[in-house]
């Protein structure tokens, strides 16, 4: 039993062995339906995420587990019922793992301290989203073999992005160089301490990148004036056809989805030959099977 609360706390060799395992879970791989047979995986989602929840659900089913889905979004958690109450109730059903999505950073850490089963973070607040980072790294390894010496450029709302944090940690651990790019209002302090380079000039950074990962811009954040408008954001940080020409010939384009087409990514780029976005999605299940295998088996 092992928790996956974040990429933080996992060593390079552990991450690599998990990614190696994920290969066996690709379609057409070995029969793994016995791995979690007779066990329960609880999906505990306090924030809606059809993609991630479905992906974990399919992964657990594929390993022979039964899945308990518990979804409680928004303000519907009854007053006075705490996160720990809910987690302990779920724990009472005897799951091998709790897969948890929550809008508060650190919520899975709190649960992990108080339950006996494995806790797998499926996204906590603006902190980490480790399974996304692992499937991204898996996708890049499929292309490149190793990540050493490669440069990954992550563009967008780094401040509010758990995908950015987990990817930064994961890609750095696997030997890649990570450049983060966005307007200063969306770049929090101290990212250099986590091994990143920071720039606000996308055009200057593009030619060095072997992969460009665009982050979803939360349109509602405009209210807080992090950026003046999505139009201006697209002008300064959107990956369009003109910018695509500045990229290395074999550089790839990634996006964790869902895409705001025409804002962070021009449709032609998102659907173009550089895009590995659909591979990211299909690799998700294999990587999550490996995560469940390592944590819950």
């Amino acid at each position: 039993m092992r928790h996956l609360l974040g990429i933080e706390g996992w060593r390079r060799d552990e991450l690599e062995s998990l990614l190696d395992r994920a290969k066996a879970h690709l379609p057409g791989g070995a029969d793994t339906t016995h791995v979690l047979r007779g066990k329960v995986v609880a999906n505990l989602f306090f924030e809606d995420s059809t993609r991630t929840r479905t992906s974990f659900h399919m992964a657990a089913k594929g390993l022979g587990a039964s899945v308990l889905n518990w979804t409680h979004t928004g303000s519907s958690v009854s007053k006075g019922e705490t996160l720990l109450d809910t987690a302990r109730n779920i724990e009472a059903t005897g799951p091998a793992a709790i897969v948890m999505r929550h809008r508060s950073s650190g919520a899975p850490h709190l649960v992990a301290k108080h339950v006996k089963c494995a806790v797998i973070n499926a996204g906590d607040g603006t902190h980490e989203h480790p399974s996304q980072a692992l499937l991204d790294a898996f996708t890049l390894r499929q292309r490149w073999g190793a990540l050493d010496g490669r440069t990954v450029l992550i563009v967008g709302d780094v401040r509010h992005s758990r995908v950015a944090r987990s990817n930064l940690l994961c890609l750095r651990a696997l030997g890649a160089r990570v450049v983060l790019c966005g307007p200063p209002t969306l770049i929090p302090p101290g990212l250099e301490d986590m091994g990143a380079e920071v720039t606000h000039n996308l055009d200057a950074a593009l030619p060095q990148a072997d992969a460009v990962m665009c982050l979803r811009i939360q349109l509602e954040r405009q209210e807080q004036s992090f950026v003046p408008s999505t139009r201006e954001y697209a002008r300064l940080f959107g990956l369009n056809a003109a910018r695509e020409e500045r990229m290395k010939a074999d550089a790839v384009v990634m996006h964790p989805g869902p895409i705001n087409r025409g804002v962070e990514l021009a449709p032609a780029v998102a659907d173009g030959p550089r895009s590995v976005i659909l591979e990211q999605v299909s690799n998700g299940v294999a990587v999550r099977r490996a995560i469940l295998e390592v944590c819950a088996a």
Binding site: L83, L84, S104, G106, L110, T126, H127, P188, P189, G190
Partner: protein
């Protein structure tokens, strides 16, 4: 009934009166009678305290304590707060007005004073609210609050965001010569923040509170202070920028005082660790450079007082997601040990440390006590400077246990506390000895 106590051969540290050496201290009828280098004869019926090897200090004064009564007696009451206070060597505390019935009128002030009288342990000085209901809209009746016994006015727990209202507060308060105590936090800068904004908040993905949320408000209030010729006390200063502004204002002769809480000069934002809500407070634990700046300011006189911001909360208030965790930690019973850490580290002299706990706060608020000259109140704290012990939150006399210091090793501890010549705390036991009453 008269009572006489002779503290025999302790190291008396009394910064206000320039005393630091082995002395006998004689107290009678609640007052200090004599402090002598020579051995004093033992008066008949005197209780003798053998203080050899111990420190005999003026009782500590805490300018910033939340006693939670009225309204949240499950967290603390005036009585339990006073028990915690004397266990920590404090003989006087200033009680913040943000109780669940706000202390914005004389009835609440009197209730607190009555409870304190009934507890009969240490001096409790209520602070009244600046604005009715702490809403930041209308001034509370300051004159009534002061005549009922309030020694300061403050909306502590929240800032006065309206600059015009703050300006009038400072002006109006000059009639009563009470300090206006301010919790400096620009809510538009701190909004939604759960901890200090820096590398740690970025790593943890928590919304940060920039230092500017405090510094900008300190700057604003110093500007207003200069214009109004008022008296300002900045509560729980947490960062370098504030310290720099206050230091400069003092040099220019403005009537500004300030306090720093032990957690802010001991811990930095890394103490949040794995989302430990026991490290969640307002203002938040800052960067290590801020901690160093606070320590310098403690040394050079910019800081007037060490104040605990004792903030008791229940277990469930902390057993939640970090963002939901309630702010604050208890502080009365750990303040001395944490202050002595700076003495052991060579940052503060023993003399300066004692000054920050005694004369400094007394002077800032114009309170009695804080020193041991003949005629001063016989409020005395006896400390064993060498005893090593471990903080155990389960042993706290406070009704609450919320502290990040549980399990921390300390050197130096309060062994006795005397208030008005009466022994109210002795080796872990609270209560006035019947004989001495």
């Amino acid at each position: 009934m008269s009572s006489t106590v002779l503290f025999r051969r302790g190291r008396v540290i009394d910064p206000r009166n320039g005393v630091d050496g082995v002395r006998d201290v004689l107290v009678r009828d609640g007052k200090v009678v004599e402090v002598s280098e020579a051995l004093l004869p033992v008066p008949s019926s005197a209780e003798v305290v053998d203080a050899a090897g111990k420190w005999v200090l003026p009782g500590f004064i805490d300018l910033h304590v939340h006693l939670r009564e009225p309204g949240e007696e499950g967290k603390e009451t005036v009585l339990t707060g006073c028990r915690a206070a004397v266990a920590g060597g404090f003989t006087a505390v200033v009680a913040m007005p943000n109780t669940k019935v706000v202390n914005d009128n004389a009835m609440v002030t009197e209730l607190v004073l009555n409870r304190a009288r009934a507890a009969a342990l240490c001096h409790v000085y209520p602070a009244g609210a600046i604005t009715k209901g702490l809403k930041g809209e209308e001034l509370a009746e300051m004159g009534e609050l002061v005549s009922a016994g309030c020694v300061a006015i403050t909306d502590d727990g929240r800032p006065v965001m309206n600059a015009s209202l703050m300006r009038r507060t400072l002006q109006y308060a000059t009639m009563f010569d009470v300090p206006v105590m301010v919790h400096e936090e620009d809510l538009t800068l701190s909004a939604g923040g759960a901890m200090h904004e820096g590398a740690v908040s970025t790593r943890l993905g928590l919304r940060g509170i920039p230092a500017s949320a405090e510094v900008a408000m300190v700057a604003r209030d110093l500007v207003l202070l200069e214009e109004t010729k008022g008296r300002l006390h900045v509560a729980h200063v947490s960062c370098e920028g504030s310290v720099r502004l206050i230091r400069e204002a003092k040099q220019r002769g403005l009537r500004v005082t300030c306090e720093v809480a032990p957690h802010h000069f001991i811990l930095d934002d890394r103490a949040v660790g794995d989302y430990d809500t026991h490290a969640k407070m307002a203002p938040p634990l800052r960067a290590d450079s801020d901690v160093l700046a606070l320590r310098e300011a403690l040394v050079d006189g910019t800081v007037d007082a060490i104040a605990t911001d004792h903030a008791p909360h229940g277990v469930l208030d902390k057993l939640v997601e970090f963002e939901k965790g309630i702010n604050g930690i208890v502080g009365l019973e750990t303040a001395l040990g944490l202050t002595l850490e700076l003495v052991h580290a060579g940052v503060l002299t023993a003399n300066r440390a004692v000054e920050l706990l005694t004369h400094g706060p007394a002077k800032a608020f114009g309170l009695p006590g804080g020193h041991l000259a003949p005629g001063a109140p016989a409020d005395v704290t006896v400390v064993d400077p060498d005893v090593e012990w471990t903080v155990d939150a389960h042993q706290f006399l406070s009704r609450s246990r919320n502290t990040p210091f549980h399990g921390r090793k300390q050197k130096g501890r309060v062994i006795q506390t005397w208030v008005s010549g009466l022994k109210v705390f002795d080796k872990g036991q609270v209560g006035q000895s019947k004989e001495s009453r």
